[in-house]
């Protein structure tokens, strides 16, 4: 060894191939992790579970033009936009399509009093506290997070609902705020161009003194 004692010993040459392989694979691995981490699979965009009853928002909210708040009636006053009780369905369905086999699970729930088990589509992490009332009453439309529900036969998740998605709007709410009376008009505003839309938003931001917080504490408790 002598003066070369600080040089790698001979046997370490055998490690060279392994090192090369690692050097090649590691970047690929990183790319994979990043791509996977941000992909719709992990953010759940497009998640479209099959519900126990094939309820069509397209028919009810789109064709029939029912207001979102007919069923989700707590949305303006409470954090949660309640999934309607079975009773709500039978305000109409005791008359209409009463014998449809699709309604069988609903009838069962209606008669036994056992709840329907719907599958949650839009699911925020438990450490994020979102209030529907705080957004809807200030003119953030349902469409901003849920998309055109009135055109969905089966509801799916359209936006990432990630923190970045929330912050995007909290940083720059202009293009996403409207007259609180129009929040359930999902088709409203598509005819505007970007500037008109922002103009409209600014008006309501000023009128309602909106200043969306970007502090952690606004969602995390």
């Amino acid at each position: 060894m002598g003066r070369y004692h600080y040089v790698f010993p001979k046997w370490s040459n055998a490690l060279l191939p392994a090192l090369c392989v690692t050097g090649l694979v590691a970047p690929l691995y990183l790319v994979f992790i990043v791509a996977y981490g941000f992909s719709p699979i992990t953010t759940d965009v497009g998640y479209q579970p099959v519900q126990p009853v094939p309820f069509s928002h397209q028919v009810h909210a789109g064709q029939l033009g029912m207001d979102c708040r007919y069923c989700h009636n707590t949305v303006e006053d409470a954090a949660k936009a309640a999934i309607p009780p079975t009773q709500t369905c039978f305000n109409c369905h005791t008359q209409i399509h009463k014998d449809s086999p699709n309604l069988a699970p609903l009838w069962e729930s209606y008669e036994t009093g056992e709840p329907m088990e719907w599958i949650r589509v839009h699911d925020l992490p438990d450490y994020a506290y979102f209030s529907h009332a705080a957004h809807v009453s200030r003119g953030v439309s349902c469409v901003e997070c849920h998309g055109r529900i009135d055109k969905m036969e089966v509801v799916y998740q359209q936006e990432t609902l990630s923190m970045g998605f929330c912050l995007e709007c909290h940083r720059d709410p202009e293009g996403r705020v409207r007259d609180p009376a129009l929040v359930t008009q999902l088709g409203w505003g598509f005819e505007f161009d970007e500037d008109q839309r922002r103009e409209e938003g600014r008006k309501w931001i000023e009128r309602n003194d909106l200043d969306p917080s970007q502090n952690c504490s606004v969602c995390h408790r």
Partner: protein, 1066 residues
């Protein structure tokens, strides 16, 4: 030289514990290493390599975890099939109810989410509670969800017990009670807990109508027998004294812990705190306490005298003799009373003179009260003195208790009847007499007699249940209809918030089974009682109103002014002197006190209460023999040593805890621990001193204490989280700056004493910051908190309220021993004075997060997990936290808590060996939280996992909700309205934190300091307001109002003026 330096040669003026006073290595260790065990292992290279190996492996494993296809599991939403009107999923609902304990009902307001009661608060509209609550009420929600609760009726047949059903019981009961009915109930007895419930009274009358020859007994281990006997002797009838501490200028407590160990604790504390405000006007207001144990009332006294409990009767007689001419000792008693010299009683000669002159000076504005431990004679004399001084009708009033039963005579006669075989069927409604009945009655032995048919209704399958023929699960008060009488007699309703989880039934429903009538449901019984009593045509309206309010308005008992019968007083004085004798040398007095946490033992399986540090001893998870410093020296023991306590031929082996201020000739034994069948939490906790308590000496007795071999670790939190701003140096110089207090005279001389240079420790307050300060300009709100040390008694209701509100786990005794308790809010207790035997005073200081505007924790977090928000709150983002604990290290107030082990999932561990846990504690797979425990979680607060730092948030969930609601309402206003009110605001007083809400003394004020009219702004403007460690420029949002005391210049106070011995204070 610091102006406080001259104190040093005489030892410490403020100390957290005896270890602190003596500056032992153990205390220094706690100050030096905040996380004593395991924190510095990384310095050792061998440990580090091992650590890296494990971490590497866990990282590799974490990779597998990524392989799911959704971020979290599929979730279902189950809406109501038919949602009740007005019900909003996920929104809180509030119901008024009440909880009866020891025969007195507390008015409560319960928060319920989606049908799950999660938080208990005092009912703000209830005339007695007025929003305040004690620790028992706060913690009772945990009992509802206790997995150890009894789930099935159990039937004992000869030697075996087996699971049975309500149906089987009812079949048996119908047959059995029918046959008893034929005998008119001969041989039937009912043993009830103390209760003033009108419905129970009504059911009792109905049961007695069916069984005229049956007998009814009542027993409560923590009772007011002596008070009742005293009242009977003095007035010829049973009255309950109602004290107005808010109006009293002089209060003399004869062994009474009215600020904690009283069922009127909430009202007393509020009134007392209100009375202390008189000091701010410069009016003298004094509390004298004569007691043996160092109680919370003693800690709040201006002058406290440690005397034997037995000598308190002599003191009462001496006081009476000097105040009331009729009460002078007769010639025959004179000889005895002359022996009771101040030296014999252990008092300074001037003490009684001072008390007498103070009482005479404030005629009509004084209260003399005797504790429940003291014999009836002392109660008679207290009533006599109050009457003679003209206090009756002003500070002392009486309400009648016509139906009250004295516990000990009752259970003694029951035992006799069991012995003689007169009783063959015993129905026990609640309680646990096999565990807590007087030891000499051998109640457990009588109960296990084979020919006795016994039925026990109880929440737990406890010691008594095991001996009874039938054990029946009892419905929790949050599950059943009931009623009771509050301290002032107000008829308070208990309504269920949830269906019985385990099909339990209430005592009313069991009585209905016995009665055999048609009305069986609790609701119907309570409603019937009230409608029959009210006899009103508009009853429906009154009933609805009662359910809404939680009580029947105007139903308080009439306040009366009965006359004290003079012959009774003369007899009382005679009797006191006949029985009193000076203490023989070496005799030890044993004083029994209800435990400040588990009460009489019924809350022993409540983890929140077990882990709550006792306000005085700061002991968790155990009780102990509390011995004074001198007594411990005499016995040759120190904290944790095992001792044997003997009373006659009864003995208990226990551990000793050295308590400053404890009378040197007596030891304090708190009841309720050492439960053999208490449940998984109670298992192995503490020592059962009921074994020494006999029917003739329920309050105190004499006995002996001797050292035996062995050591028992006691988990005291007193040295944990010691504030030490200058790394061990100069803590003493700094302490008067942490806890600031002054005497009335000092306050008069210098009203701004709290901010003079003595208190700031002569340290310059630096206003230059090392870094850019958080920009809070333009903030709508600036949340802040003011804590009035003058009002705070240290009762700890806030600590439990915080735990319930914020989903704070319990960690277990083992982890508490390591300094890892999770309470976000702690109460620092400082003894003051140089003599550990007689501390001059006690300082109680609740410490939540200070919400520093210049938060030192934020500067050191490598991942910005703790940041500032615009409202000035120092917020903790759990999901960002990687657990470096730098923030905790850098927090000068020591308010940050680290979750080491997913305590929610593991449950508390208690291992007897010092600092040893079960080997699998760290490695065993973490099961999910028990589904029952999960039901108690506040859904508005994140349940933190391990490896995450957490701390007080100022109840940010409440702030968020209030802000959202205010803004929602504002947005909906018309433009004209908006012009009048240009921005959304949360009205002052409409939002408060859990601690401030619970505080019976109303010592904590929370609000917006941007609003110049808010209560917190007012408090900050006050002369007594100060910031803790202001000199390090943290700009805390939590500030304190300095404490005032008004000690008389006698006793321990003579050694120096109070405060910090500044001759020219200020």
């Amino acid at each position: 030289m610091s102006p406080l330096d001259h104190n040093r040669p005489r030892g410490k003026a403020y100390w957290r514990s005896l270890d602190d006073l003596a500056d032992t290595p153990e205390f220094r260790e706690f100050v030096f290493r905040e996380f004593p065990a395991g924190a510095t292992e990384m310095l050792d290279s061998g440990e580090r390599r091992q650590f890296l190996k494990i971490m590497g492996a866990s990282l590799a494993l974490a990779g597998f975890g990524l392989a799911g296809c959704r971020r979290w599991p599929k979730e279902q939403i189950a809406p109501f099939a038919n949602r009740p009107e007005g019900r909003v999923p996920g929104a809180p609902e509030y119901y008024a109810t009440s909880m009866e304990l020891g025969g007195v009902a507390d008015g409560l307001l319960v928060t319920s989410f989606d049908g799950r009661p999660v938080k208990i608060e005092g009912n703000p509209e209830h005339p007695v509670s007025r929003g305040g609550s004690g620790v028992e009420a706060q913690a009772s929600v945990l009992e509802l969800y206790d997995p150890d609760r009894s789930r099935y009726p159990m039937l004992r047949e000869t030697d075996s017990r087996h699971q049975s059903s309500w149906h089987a019981f009812e079949t048996w009961a119908t047959k059995h009670f029918d046959s008893l009915g034929n005998a008119k109930g001969g041989g039937l007895a009912v043993l009830s807990e103390a209760t003033e419930s009108p419905s129970v009274g009504d059911m009792r009358a109905r049961v007695m109508k069916r069984f005229p020859r049956a007998a009814w007994y009542e027993y409560e281990p923590i009772n007011t027998d002596h008070e009742m006997a005293g009242s009977n002797a003095a007035f010829g009838a049973t009255y309950r004294p109602q004290y107005s501490f808010n109006r009293a200028k002089v209060v003399v407590s004869l062994d009474s812990d009215f600020l904690l160990a009283s069922r009127a604790m909430v009202r007393n504390t509020r009134d007392f705190a209100q009375g202390r405000k008189r000091l701010l006007d410069g009016t003298s207001t004094r509390l004298y306490v004569f007691e043996s144990a160092f109680s919370l009332t003693g800690a709040n006294a201006d002058n406290r005298f440690a005397v034997r409990s037995r000598d308190v009767s002599a003191i009462a007689a001496l006081l009476a003799a000097r105040l009331v001419p009729d009460a002078a000792a007769s010639a025959s008693a004179r000889e005895q009373s002359d022996r009771a010299t101040p030296e014999v009683l252990g008092l300074d000669a001037a003490v009684l003179d001072q008390v007498v002159s103070d009482l005479k000076q404030s005629r009509g504005d004084s209260i003399v009260l005797a504790g429940p431990r003291q014999p009836a004679e002392v109660h008679v004399l207290a009533a006599l003195i109050n009457e003679h001084l003209g206090s009756v009708g002003r500070t002392v009033r009486y309400t009648p208790l016509p139906d009250a039963t004295q516990s000990v005579p009752s259970i003694t006669s029951l035992t006799k009847d069991l012995d003689s075989g007169r009783i063959h069927t015993l129905v026990i409604l609640g309680g646990n007499p096999a565990y807590d009945a007087p030891a000499d009655l051998d109640f457990a032995g009588k109960l296990s007699s084979q020919r006795l048919k016994s039925v026990h209704l109880s929440i737990y399958d406890n010691e008594t249940s095991r001996l009874c023929t039938w054990h029946l699960p009892r419905a929790h008060y949050l599950e059943s209809w009931a009623d009771g009488r509050a301290w002032d007699g107000t008829w308070s309703i208990a309504q269920p918030l949830i269906e019985p989880l385990f099909g339990g039934r209430s005592p009313l429903e069991l009585l209905a089974v016995m009665e055999g009538g048609d009305v069986r449901a609790g609701y119907d019984i309570v409603r019937r009682t009230m409608s029959e009593s009210a006899k009103r045509t508009d009853f429906e309206q009154a009933w609805r109103r009662t359910l809404h309010d939680g009580f029947l308005a105007g139903s308080a008992a009439t306040l009366m002014r009965p006359d004290v019968r003079r012959p009774a007083c003369i007899a009382a004085v005679e009797s006191i002197w006949q029985q009193w004798a000076p203490a023989p040398a070496g005799e030890m007095e044993l004083v029994f006190v209800p435990d400040t946490k588990v009460y009489d033992g019924r809350f022993a399986n409540n983890g929140w209460l077990q882990e709550l540090p006792d306000p005085m001893t700061k002991l968790t998870w155990d009780n102990a023999v509390l011995a004074g410093v001198e007594a411990a020296g005499r016995l040759g023991v120190t904290t944790g040593d095992r001792v044997r306590v003997t009373h006659g031929d009864r003995q208990v082996e226990a551990a000793v805890c050295v308590m400053p201020g404890q009378c040197s000739n007596s030891v304090t034994l708190s009841l309720g621990y050492g439960r053999p069948h208490g449940g998984t939490i109670a298992e192995g906790a503490g020592f059962d001193f009921y074994a020494l308590r006999t029917a003739d000496a329920m309050g105190f007795t004499t006995g002996a204490v001797e050292k035996i071999s062995g050591h028992y670790p006691l988990a005291q939190t007193q040295d944990h989280h010691a504030i030490d701003s200058t790394a061990g140096k100069g803590t003493q110089a700094r302490l008067p700056s942490l806890f600031r207090e002054a005497t009335l005279q000092q306050f008069k001389d210098n009203p701004r004493f709290a901010n003079d240079h003595h208190h700031t420790g002569a340290h310059a307050v630096h206003r230059l910051s090392l870094w850019n300060e958080t920009n809070l300009e333009g903030a709508v709100y600036a949340w802040a908190m003011s804590i009035d040390l003058n009002a705070c008694t240290g009762c700890s209701a806030c600590v439990v309220a915080c735990q319930a509100e914020n989903n704070i786990p319990i960690v277990g005794k083992d982890q508490v021993l390591r300094g890892r308790e999770m309470h976000w809010l702690r109460i620092d207790r400082y003894f003051q004075g140089h003599d550990p035997e007689t501390p001059r005073s006690v300082g109680m200081q609740p410490i939540p997060c200070m919400m520093c505007e210049n938060a030192p924790c934020e500067q050191v977090c490598p991942v910005a997990a703790t940041t500032h928000d615009k409202d000035g709150l120092n917020v903790m983002v759990y999901n960002r936290c990687v657990g470096t604990r730098y923030c905790s290290n850098n927090c000068p107030y020591k308010v940050r808590r680290f979750n080491y082990f997913d305590y929610w999932k593991r449950g508390p561990e208690r291992e007897m060996g010092l600092l040893h846990v079960k080997p699998d504690y760290y490695t065993k797979p973490q099961t999910d939280m028990h589904p029952l425990r999960r039901m108690q979680m506040n859904p508005e607060v994140t349940v933190r996992s391990r490896g995450v730092m957490e701390k007080c948030t100022y109840c940010i969930q409440r702030i968020s909700v209030a802000k959202i609601e205010a803004k929602n309402a504002w947005v909906k206003m018309t433009p004209e309205q908006k012009q009048r009110q240009p921005r959304a605001t949360v009205p002052d007083g409409s939002l408060t934190t859990a601690c401030a809400q619970a505080c019976p003394a109303q010592a904590i004020i929370f609000g917006d300091m941007n609003d110049p009219t808010s209560r917190v702004s007012d408090a900050f403007k006050g002369a007594r307001s100060y910031q803790m460690l202001e000199e390090i420029n943290t700009k805390p949002r939590t500030r304190y109002l300095a404490k005032l005391r008004d000690p008389a210049p006698v006793g321990a106070q003579e050694a120096g003026s109070a405060g910090h011995e500044e001759p020219n204070h200020g």
